[in-house]
Symmetry: C2
Subunit: 297 residues, 2 copies
């Protein structure tokens, strides 16, 4: 079984009727399973998560785009979150039996289709065609409001689609990225500086693990602080190693781990090393998990 | 999705052609997935493991029985392992969305069908109708060779099927049991008495955990000893607790855990507490695992 995930971010977080139609477009696509969706009023933005065979996921995303381009007018959009267009970002995430290369080929196919709808497209992360467009924040710089100027300059030319400002729909950013694990570690202290120092120690930008982003956050209701992490390649930087490093760094301040949180969903493979490490099952493989066998290779 | 597992033990471990036909009977049943099979020459016995929707698993088991009753003659059978008949034991194992009660109802249906083939049937474990038949070794006592005498006495009457000795096929034992986790802990010592004392400490019969069977075994090739355990209800006695108790008991002898082994397959649910405990994810649920979501409730 091949399994691709898509986590599009759409620029509508307030109008219940529009949200209903966006969600329905995905739900009604045969072979697509909508795992989750949420909308944020302040961001005026919705995030959908769905999976399926690659072609079905592309079809579901096209159905979503059709509705979004028809229903959302960026000239009236305001919200706290940076964005370039009505369908702002479309990350394709290979989960099972899908290579990065084949996911990139699907991203291109999707990008060409979106371009054909008159919407300029930028490719990012593993689908980027220019190194300066690998990082999503870089691609989104200047936002919708700067898009007309940007498209008029050679450096701002889209990777596919018209180099013409589409006032209604803006631009879309299509890419491929590995599944991201949102793993938070809560510490039994109210001293935020401890969480901040540990976040600094474990994250890539501070000299820590290559595939970890982290920040320190106060959890005032709980009387704790949190090291909030994103693990961007769990097969290279496994969850247990991040936790044990945080635990070890916390110990130097006499602080213990009170509990952890896994935000959202994760593929079974993200826990393979967890089980191997803690149960010392050196030869364990998720092929030994019955549910995994049922889904096929 | 409903998922039932069946792990029948059949009294043939030598004749490749017969084994081939037994395996094919299961493989060819629509909706049944054969996960594993193995045969042992000394035991002259084969074990098959397959899963599927409950009705499909019953159909696959009937197909297996038809072949086994046609191809195996117990009058010629000899082997090291105790057995009552050609299809010796049929354990049904509820894995997902199947209650013990509904599995017992299927065991009865299967038992009646086997009885209808002229083979006496005893029910065991969760399907037992008499307390003295709950334990499989108790039901198997006297073996095939004692079956004619046993069936002639009132205490030996089968639970279903004819109270008449079937010389060709013997009797079958049909039951329901929870999934069993075969988890072995290897210790960095050659002192077998350490493994034996720890096995005694963790197993139910020695005052240990209620759902643990354990024994100490020498691993001469590795220069280690092993605490070999069966965890019979992992939701009550989780894997991590058995490992950590073994680790703690080993420490009193200055012995450390060198590694562990998980034999065969296990359902995802068996690792839910492992992930919760070691990653301190107090609220983690296997509903957060994408593969689990895809298989449905």
């Amino acid at each position: 079984m091949q399994l691709l995930e898509c986590v599009p971010n759409v620029s509508e977080g307030r109008d219940a009727e529009v949200l209903e139609r966006l969600v329905r477009a995905v739900r009604q696509t045969p072979g697509v399973e909508l795992l989750d969706w949420s909308a944020d009023r302040d961001h005026n933005r919705a995030v959908l998560t769905y999976v399926g065979e690659p072609e079905a996921v592309v079809a579901g995303t096209q159905a979503l785009c059709r509705e979004a381009f028809a229903l959302i007018d960026m000239r009236k959009h305001e919200g706290a979150h940076p964005r370039l267009g009505a369908v702002d970002v479309i990350p394709l995430v290979p989960l099972r039996g899908v290579t990065t290369e084949s996911a990139v080929a699907l991203a291109r196919k999707l990008g060409e289709w979106i371009g054909g709808q008159g919407v300029p497209v930028y490719y990012y992360e593993d689908a980027a065609v220019r190194p300066e467009r690998e990082s999503l924040p870089d691609v989104r710089r200047g936002e919708y409001e700067g898009l007309a100027t940007r498209l008029a300059s050679p450096e701002g030319a889209p990777d596919v689609g018209p180099a013409v400002f589409n006032a209604r729909s803006g631009a879309s950013i299509v890419g491929v990225r590995p599944p991201l694990i949102a793993f938070n570690v809560n510490l039994a202290t109210t001293d935020l500086s401890v969480a901040k120092r540990i976040a600094q120690a474990v994250r890539f930008s501070g000299g820590g693990y290559r595939y970890v982003r982290a920040m320190g956050v106060a959890l005032e209701d709980k009387g704790q602080v949190q090291v909030s992490t994103d693990i961007t390649r769990y097969e290279k930087t496994p969850i247990h190693r991040v936790l044990e490093t945080i635990r070890s760094e916390a110990a130097r301040y006499g602080v213990v781990v009170a509990g952890c949180e896994l935000v959202g969903l994760a593929p079974l493979a993200a826990f393979e090393e967890t089980i191997r490490y803690y149960l010392q099952l050196h030869d364990f493989s998720i092929a030994q998990v019955i549910e995994n066998r049922l889904l096929g290779e």
